[in-house]
Symmetry: C2
Subunit: 339 residues, 2 copies
């Protein structure tokens, strides 16, 4: 066990795309857990688009990271020391911690991962926050039905890949939107979407019209911008739009105007925003539902893995550019034997 903890803190609020200089690495002795606390070493750190929002002081659903504060994020870690009877050294746990090699947590903020089970990284992706986001959005808002057409943007990402597979399970025609031919091939051939439109080439409106001859009944929105505009133009009466994210504008200081909402009346569209943490019960529900699907290979997932805590800032930049392919994970420490 090293006796130094490395953490990445927010040095200053970025303008536009986050830069290396917006972050700072700090080192200090590994702390001791206090009463009721648990010390973990980080194995996996999840990198997700929402983290860009936490770097701004723009008003949002969660408090921003303070200047000088540790960047927040979901992690899988191994317990090194515990002052809580619920955890013992060697336990592998998942929780919302930060960009650091070692963390102190209240015991109640951690969940033990039973082993053997799914690969540990899956608890940050397909079985974790992104998977639960897709599940909650489809269950509570999208509600796809057999025969309907469902469009999912950022279709190869951690959320989109699960959202589309859930819609397929519901019997819908599922069309992905992704950036790049390799992603589109994977979305269609591996995830089993009926079609996938590459928004980086050709005419998006025409491609979408082609892929959705019967219009669009459900849109799972992760992107915003031109993709949103193209999809909205093809929504059917009584369409549902799951507003999960608009990554296209996360680096923007000023937001561009959006759609005129006349169509919402004329087509009786429902546009609804969601944040996964509003319904915490969905996490356990989803894990119970999806773990067998991950185990039997019927729910597919994919990760982009980068090595070492220091790679986290560049990993976030990549995610915001769509440069990842599947769920972005940082390998911060080795997996325990047998994981």
């Amino acid at each position: 066990m090293p006796d130094i903890r490395r953490s990445i803190i927010l040095r200053r609020r970025p303008t536009g795309e986050p830069r290396r200089e917006d972050f700072q690495i700090v080192e200090e002795p590994v702390p001791e857990p206090g009463p009721g606390e648990v010390l973990t070493r980080t194995i996996w750190l999840s990198i997700d688009p929402y983290m860009r929002g936490r770097m701004s002081d723009r008003k949002s659903y969660a408090e921003p990271v303070a200047i000088g504060g540790v960047m927040t994020g979901e992690t899988v870690g191994e317990v090194l020391a515990s002052n809580d009877p619920g955890f013992s050294p060697g336990d592998v746990v998942v929780g919302s911690r930060g960009w650091q090699t070692h963390s102190i947590s209240r015991a109640g903020a951690l969940a033990r991962i039973e082993r053997p089970g799914a690969p540990l990284g899956a608890y940050l992706g397909v079985l974790g926050m992104p998977g639960t986001t897709a599940y909650s959005g489809m269950k509570d808002i999208g509600q796809p039905k057999a025969g309907e057409t469902v469009v999912v943007s950022a279709a190869s990402g951690g959320v989109g890949s699960v959202a589309g597979q859930l819609a397929k399970r519901a019997g819908a025609r599922v069309v992905g939107i992704a950036g790049g031919a390799d992603k589109c091939v994977w979305v269609q051939e591996t995830l089993g979407f009926d079609d996938c439109v590459d928004h980086r080439v050709g005419n998006l409106d025409l491609a979408l019209a082609d892929a959705c001859p019967n219009g669009i009944d459900v849109y799972f929105e992760n992107v915003g911008g031109a993709v949103q505009e193209a999809v909205f133009a093809r929504l059917n009466p009584f369409a549902r739009v799951v507003m999960c994210g608009m990554i296209a504008q996360y680096n923007e200081a000023e937001f561009p105007p959006g759609p005129n909402l006349g169509f919402v009346v004329a087509k009786r569209v429902r546009i609804e925003g969601m944040i996964v943490s509003d319904k915490p019960e969905r996490f356990a529900e989803w894990r119970a539902l999806a773990a067998p699907w991950v185990a039997d290979g019927s729910l597919r997932h994919r990760e982009t893995i980068v090595d070492g805590l220091d790679a986290a800032p560049e990993a976030l930049r990549q995610v915001l550019r769509g440069g990842n392919f599947g769920k972005m994970l940082v390998r911060v420490g080795r997996e325990p034997a047998g994981a």
Copy 2:
């Protein structure tokens, strides 16, 4: 009984505000009802904002009126002749007919008004389509709760006046938005809203902030444009927006851009469109619920009445400009004795 029927037909599709020359009056002999049909003479014709949409060939939820076709609209009329056992001469009925002095209807499209009852015009306003629209929008989407803040635009209109009174009954703080001091006084003093903002004077953002110190939980949208922008900026987390209409742009050929939808995610807002005819069962439900409130005076309403079928085009222009005060009605024929 005159033997001539006068009808107002759509002569051409208007550009911008409808003009006199977009309409044409035609005269012809009063027709005879066929098998299963009923002949009525029109007493009251309702003038409503949606009619502007029917004059355009822009894609919408309903077919446009054909060039040369009679303008559609809700009416109260008296049965003159019936080839259906359900109706007899002298019956007073409500139905969706048109801008004409006499109409032929299938019996199934008419509902008899039991008399004595509410004033006949009420069946086109507070108890009719506008009232039912307010009821359905609040019941199915807005769902105001005690202590919440509800904002209603076009607050003195046929829909808005009922929407706000329903929110008051639910125990909410209700703030109207209307155009003109006289309307605002009526909305507060007669309808009992907690506050009313005149969007024609001063700074709308500041006035709204003043009237809604705790933000906005439900917005009943009838207007669009600058009013929508000001209200959206003050929506609370988990706010519901009933998208009923956007009258500010009904005369526009090109729609302006709308709001950037980032706030929908961050605040988990639900924005949902509605058309009253999607849930026809709400009409009878509402009439049963609200008729006693109209009778005991606890549900207030107000009409602007113009005389004679020929006044209908100008009445629609007025409605689109916000020149009416309360529900706009055209008195096409005399009320039967005792009505």
